[in-house]
Symmetry: C2
C-alpha cells in the first residue's frame, strides 16, 4: 500500500489501515447486503478501509433494504480515496442501469459481477488495494452471461496468471488445505499418489509462507478410518501417505502424519499444527463447517495478492429480505485485513 500511503492527503492519527477491495458479488444475491452489514461492524471499521467494486444501483438498493445509511462516493482512482465514516467508496462498474430482481438468475447480473471482479483484480495487481474480499457470485448467472469461467477461483487464476491457486479454509486456529476437491468420493483413493501428496504438502507450506507464518507444521489427514489401523481398513496410509510425508520431510518441510482424520482437525484447533492437508472435499469441509458454519473463511493463496471470501453462496432464497447473516463476510474481511 505504499502507493496510496504516499499520495494520502488526509492526516491520520492512526497507523494506515489496510485497504481492502470488496466485490459486491451477484446483484440478485445477498452480496451488497452482507457487505453493508459487515462494514457497519465495529471490528471491521477498526481494522480496515474499503473500496467497493460493483454497481451504484445495487449498492443503493442494499442501503434501502438494510436501512444502513451511507453516502456513496464514486472513485476511479485510489488517490481520490480519503476514508471518512459514513462514506462508501465505490468503483462503479456502470453495468446495471436498474436494480436487479432479487433471487433470479440473470445474464446481466452475471456480466456485472464478472466486470467487478476483473476491475478489482486489476487494482490488486497494481497494488492499489492490499487484499481482495469477494461477495458471492452465482454460477448460473455467470454462465448465462457467457463468462468462460465457472467460479471466482478460475477467474482469479486466469487474470493473475496463477496456475493452481490454493484454497485454504480458516476457522479459529484451524487452517485446512485441500488436495482434491470436486471429484466423486469413489475416485479419491485412486487419485492419490506420492508426487501429488508431496506437491500438496509443499503448496500448503507456500500458502502458509504467504500468510507470514514462520513456523509451518503441516499435518496430513489420513484417508481410512483410524488411519487404516495398520492396514486393517485400507493401505493407502502405508503405500502413499506415509512415504509422501517422508519425502516432504526430506525436502525440509515440517510435516506430520498421516493422522486419523477424526483427530487431526481437533489437533489443528488446539494449535498443534499450523495447517491440515485434507485429502478430499468433504473431509475438510465437514470439519470447518461443523465446527463453525458462519465463521469459516476461505482464502485463495498463491496469487500476487490475497483474496478471502465468505464460505457461502448468494442465498437467492432470502436475497433482498435483510435476513442474511454477515458473520462469514465479517470474518472474511477481518482475515483480509490481518493477512493481506
Amino acid at each position: 500500500m505504499k502507493n496510496r500511503a504516499e499520495t494520502q492527503t488526509v492526516n491520520r492519527m492512526n497507523p494506515v489501515k489496510p485497504l481492502i477491495g470488496i466485490t459486491l458479488g451477484d446483484a440478485a444475491g445477498i452480496g451488497a447486503e452482507i457487505t453493508l452489514k459487515a462494514l457497519a461492524d465495529a471490528r471491521v471499521r477498526d481494522s480496515l478501509e474499503a473500496v467497493l467494486f460493483g454497481d451504484r444501483v445495487v449498492l443503493e438498493q442494499a442501503i434501502q433494504q438494510t436501512g444502513l445509511r451511507g453516502e456513496i462516493v464514486e472513485i476511479d482512482s485510489v488517490e481520490n480515496l480519503h476514508p471518512e465514516p459514513g462514506i462508501h467508496y465505490l468503483c462503479d462498474q456502470h453495468q446495471l442501469t436498474a436494480a436487479a430482481e432479487m433471487g433470479r438468475v440473470s445474464a446481466a447480473c452475471g456480466a456485472a459481477a464478472f466486470a467487478a471482479i476483473k476491475t478489482a483484480v486489476q487494482w490488486a495487481l497494481e497494488k492499489k488495494i492490499d487484499a481482495l474480499c469477494t461477495a458471492p457470485i452465482n454460477k448460473a448467472s455467470l454462465q448465462a452471461a457467457g463468462v468462460p469461467f465457472i467460479d471466482h477461483t478460475e477467474i482469479l487464476g486466469h487474470d493473475t496468471g496463477t496456475k493452481s491457486p490454493l484454497t485454504l479454509f480458516v476457522v479459529d486456529q484451524l487452517r485446512i488445505a485441500f488436495l482434491t476437491k470436486h471429484i466423486p468420493l469413489r475416485r479419491v483413493a485412486e487419485s492419490l499418489s506420492v508426487p501429488l501428496v508431496v506437491e500438496g504438502l509443499a503448496a500448503t507450506d507456500r500458502g502458509l509462507q504467504q500468510l507470514g507464518l514462520s513456523r509451518r507444521r503441516i499435518a496430513l489427514a489420513a484417508l481410512n478410518p483410524h488411519a487404516g489401523d495398520s492396514g486393517l481398513f485400507g493401505d493407502e496410509e502405508e503405500t502413499v501417505l506415509a512415504p509422501a510425508v517422508a519425502a516432504a520431510a526430506a525436502r525440509g518441510l515440517e510435516v506430520y502424519g498421516p493422522v486419523p482424520a477424526d483427530a487431526v482437525f481437533h489437533d489443528g484447533l488446539e494449535g498443534r499444527y499450523d495447517a491440515i492437508l485434507s485429502l478430499y472435499h468433504d473431509q475438510g469441509h465437514i470439519a470447518a463447517k461443523t465446527r463453525d458454519f458462519h465463521r469459516t473463511v476461505s482464502f485463495t493463496l498463491g496469487m500476487p495478492f490475497l483474496r478471502t471470501t465468505p464460505d457461502h453462496g448468494t442465498a437467492f432464497a432470502i436475497a433482498g429480505e435483510n435476513r442474511a447473516n454477515p458473520l462469514s463476510m465479517i470474518e472474511a474481511l477481518l482475515a483480509a485485513a490481518r493477512y493481506g
Copy 2:
C-alpha cells in the same frame, strides 16, 4: 428400576435417580481415574447413582492417584445399595490381586475388564441397573487374554443376543448414526445399496425411538461433494441415496436428503434434524470430534438396555498420571442418566 425402588430402605426427598452401572475398563488405562473424577462432578452427583464393576485394587489405586477419597463398599446385590455421599459401591470382580502396571498391555487386565463387562451386562439384563456406561478397554489386552471379541460392541451384542447394535454419537443437539464403519474409504461407494441405506434409516429411527423421541427427523448425509452437484461429481446420490430416502419415506419414516455432508451436521446442531445418518466412519467422526472432541458421547442402541461410553481410548500414554480429562466420561454418564 422398579426392583430396586421397591426394596429401597432409604427415605429420600428427591425422586429416585437412575442407577447407572459403570465398568472401570482396562486396569492399566485411565478408566478408574476418569470414573472417580466424573463421580466428583456436581452435575453427575445430582443426576444419578452409580454402581461400579471392576476390581477393588484398581479402584483403590485410582483413589490414591487422584486424591479423590471415597469409601469402597462391596456389594453383590442391588438390594444392599443405599446411596450415600462419599461411598463407592463396587461389585468387585476379584480378578486382580495387585494393582496393574499402568500403560501396559496385559492378559490379566484384559481378562479382568472382560469379566466386569459380563457381570454388568447381566445386571443390566436383569434390570438391576437403568443403563450401562463403560470406561475404555484395550483391544490388545483383550486379545492377550484370549477374549474372542474385539471390542465392547461385540461383547455387548453377543451377551445380549443383539445382532446389530447401533452406534449413535451425540454432541450437543447433534446425533449421528453410521451406515458403514471399519472399511477402507475406497470401498464405501461400492458398499452402498438401496436396501442397506433403507435399513440404516430404519435402524436410526428405532434408535431414536429407544431414546424416547416422539419426532424423529432423520437426514441422510450425501456421499459426494455438494451431494454430487446433479451428477457432476458422482452419481450415488441419484442412483442409491435419493431412491433409498424415497423408499424409507414410503415406509412412513420422516427422512430427508441426501443433504451435502458439509451442511448436514451443522443443520443437526441447529436442531433441524433429530439425527444424521453418516455413510462412512470418518464422515460422522470428523463432524462430532471436530465440533467438540471432549464432549462426544457414543451410545449403543438396539439392546435391551442403553449403553453409553466416552469416545476415547485407554490413553495408556498418560495412565496413572492424574492428567486424564473426564469431560467425555461426565457427558457419557449424564447421557446414560438422561436416556437410560
